[in-house]
Symmetry: C2
Subunit: 302 residues, 2 copies
C-alpha cells in the first residue's frame, strides 16, 4: 500500500509541474517560494505569483503537516485519537481580467495512525471549482466536460456525485448563491470493493494534473478580450463574495486557522482587492444580472 | 420595570440623533433608509451614508427582532427556550481618510420570556471600539478617557472590566493582533445589588449618546491632514483585517447570519474596499510598523 511519504512526494511533483506551467502561461511573472515549518510538526512550500500579465495573485501551496489534532477538530471528527498527518496541494488564482475566471484546485490526503488496536483512518479529498466573474456558457461547458472526463476514467459515478457535492459545498448560504459554477468536490474518499487505495491515489493525481490544461485553455480564451472599468469594478465585487465564502465557510481555511498553519499561506486565497457595495442591484437585462441568476445549485452545465 | 418596547423606542431615538449629527459632521452626504422585516418576526431600519466628504461608508442600524432562537444559538446559550427578542443600535463607519479611524458602536438588549415557571432571561450588551489605520497617541488617549468618563458615571469598575473585555473580544486570533486600540465591550449585563435594570439602561443610553461627540472630535482632528497614496493603500490593507475579524469572529455578525437577518444590514460593516497583499512586511521604523506593534492587548491608553 502506498505510503504517506510517497503521496507527499508525488504531490510535490505536481506542484512543480503546475508552477512551471503557470509561469509559461502567464509569460511575465514568476513564482517566489517560502518554505515554512509548523510548530506542531511538518511544514510546507508556499509558492506565490503576483502581478503577472494575467495572473494577478495566485498561490500554489504544498504542505505536509502532522502532530496532534486540536480539540475542535477531534470533536468535529468524533475521534479520540490525537495524531494526524495531512498533505495536499492547494491552488487559488485571481486573474487581473474580469473575463478570466478565478479557479481553485485542491488534492489532499489525511490519515490518523491506528491506536488501541483500531485500524488507521485515512482518506483522500479534493476538487476543482470555477468562479467566473461573468458566466460564459461555452467556458462553463468546457470546464465541466473536462472534469467529467477525468472522473469517468476512474468511475462512472464520480462526476455526478462530486458535482452535486461541489454545488452543496461552494454555497454562500447567507447570500443564497453559489460561489461560482461549481465543479467537483469530494472528501473522505476511501477504498471500497470497487476501487482500491491505489485507484483513488491515481484519481487524485489525474485531477491535479488536469488543472493546468483546463485553466490554460480558459485563460487563453479570454485574456485578450477588451473590458471596461465597470466590468473591472464588478470583478472586485465578485471577489468580495469569494472572501466571504473563504472566511465564513471554507473547511480548509478553518482547518488551517485551527491547526495553527502558516497564516499567509492559508489566506493567500483571499483576493488582492475586493469591494463591498451596499445593497448592490444589478441592472435588469445586464450581463451582471445574468451571472447572478446562474449562481445556483443543480445546473447541468454539460 | 422598563419594557422591551420602551427600550426599542429609546434606541430608535438615539439612532435618529446620531444620523442627524453624522450628516452635520460630514457636511456633504446624507443617509438613505431601508425599512426591512424579518421573516421570523420583527425588523429594522437600516440607514447608510455613502461617499461623503469624509464618511465613505457608514451604517447606523436599528433593529428589533423576535421569534424562535435557531438551534445553533440555543445550544450556545445552553437554553431550551425558543422565543427571543433582541433590539439594538449598531454602527460601523469607514472614513475615506487614512488618518481618520474606523469606529464601531453597539448598544443592545436581549430577552427570552419565561417559560415553565422559570424567570425570563434578559441582559444588555454593547460597546464602542476604535480601529485607527495609524495609531495616534493623543487620539487614543482622548478616546479611552471619554469612555472611562461615561463608565465612571455609573460604576467605577466598569471601565476597567469592559476595557479588558474589549481587548479580548476584538482580537484577530489568527493574526495575533487586536482589531484596533479597543475601547469597551460588555455583554450579558444584568441587574445586581449594586445597579438596577434602570441603571443599566441609562448606562446603555449614555454610551450610545457618547458616540457622536467622541467620533466628531476624532474626525475633525484629522480630516484636513494631507496624506499620500501609500497611506491610502495601507488604509485598504487595514480594512482587510477588519473584514477578517467581522467574518471570522464577530458574534453579532454570526448572530445575524444565523437568525436570517437582512444580509445587507448585517454586512454593511464590511469595508467599501479592501486589499490583501501577500506576506506584507512593514518597513522597519515606519509609522505602519509602529501601528502594528501597538495592536496588542493590555495597553493602558490613558
Amino acid at each position: 500500500m502506498i505510503t504517506k511519504e510517497e503521496i507527499a512526494s508525488q504531490y510535490q511533483e505536481i506542484q512543480n509541474e503546475i508552477c512551471a506551467g503557470l509561469e509559461q502561461l502567464d509569460g511575465k511573472a514568476s513564482f517566489t517560494e517560502e518554505l515554512w515549518q509548523r510548530e506542531g510538526g511538518g511544514g510546507g512550500k508556499t509558492r506565490v505569483i503576483l502581478n503577472g500579465d494575467v495572473l494577478e495573485k495566485g498561490g500554489v501551496n504544498f504542505s505536509a503537516v502532522e502532530g496532534q489534532l486540536p480539540e475542535t477538530i477531534k470533536n468535529a471528527l468524533k475521534v479520540e485519537q490525537h495524531d494526524f498527518f495531512a498533505t495536499g496541494v492547494s491552488i487559488v488564482i485571481h486573474p487581473n481580467h474580469p473575463m478570466v475566471p478565478i479557479i481553485h484546485m485542491n488534492i489532499r490526503y489525511f490519515e490518523m495512525p491506528s491506536t488501541n488496536n483500531k485500524s488507521p483512518m485515512r482518506w483522500f479529498g479534493g476538487g476543482i471549482d470555477l468562479t467566473p466573474h461573468y458566466v460564459i456558457d461555452d467556458d462553463a461547458q468546457f470546464f465541466h466536460r473536462k472534469l467529467k472526463a477525468v472522473c469517468d476514467d476512474f468511475n462512472h459515478e464520480f462526476y455526478h456525485r462530486f458535482k452535486v457535492w461541489a454545488d452543496d459545498y461552494f454555497f454562500i448560504k447567507h447570500r443564497h448563491e453559489t460561489r461560482g459554477i461549481g465543479g467537483i468536490f469530494y472528501d473522505r474518499l476511501a477504498a471500497t470493493d470497487e476501487y482500491s487505495w491505489d485507484d483513488i491515489f491515481e484519481f487524485s493525481k489525474a485531477l491535479g494534473r488536469s488543472f493546468l490544461p483546463i485553466y490554460s485553455e480558459l485563460v487563453n480564451r479570454n485574456r485578450d478580450k477588451e473590458y471596461t472599468e465597470a466590468q473591472q469594478e464588478w470583478q472586485y465585487q465578485r471577489r468580495s463574495r469569494y472572501a466571504e465564502f473563504n472566511l465564513v465557510y471554507d473547511a480548509g481555511t478553518k482547518f488551517g486557522l485551527e491547526t495553527n498553519g502558516r497564516i499567509e499561506s492559508i489566506l493567500m486565497s483571499l483576493p488582492p482587492q475586493a469591494r463591498w457595495l451596499y445593497n448592490y442591484q444589478a441592472q435588469p437585462g445586464s450581463e451582471e444580472e445574468r451571472t447572478l441568476t446562474l449562481l445556483k445549485k443543480g445546473i447541468n452545465w454539460i
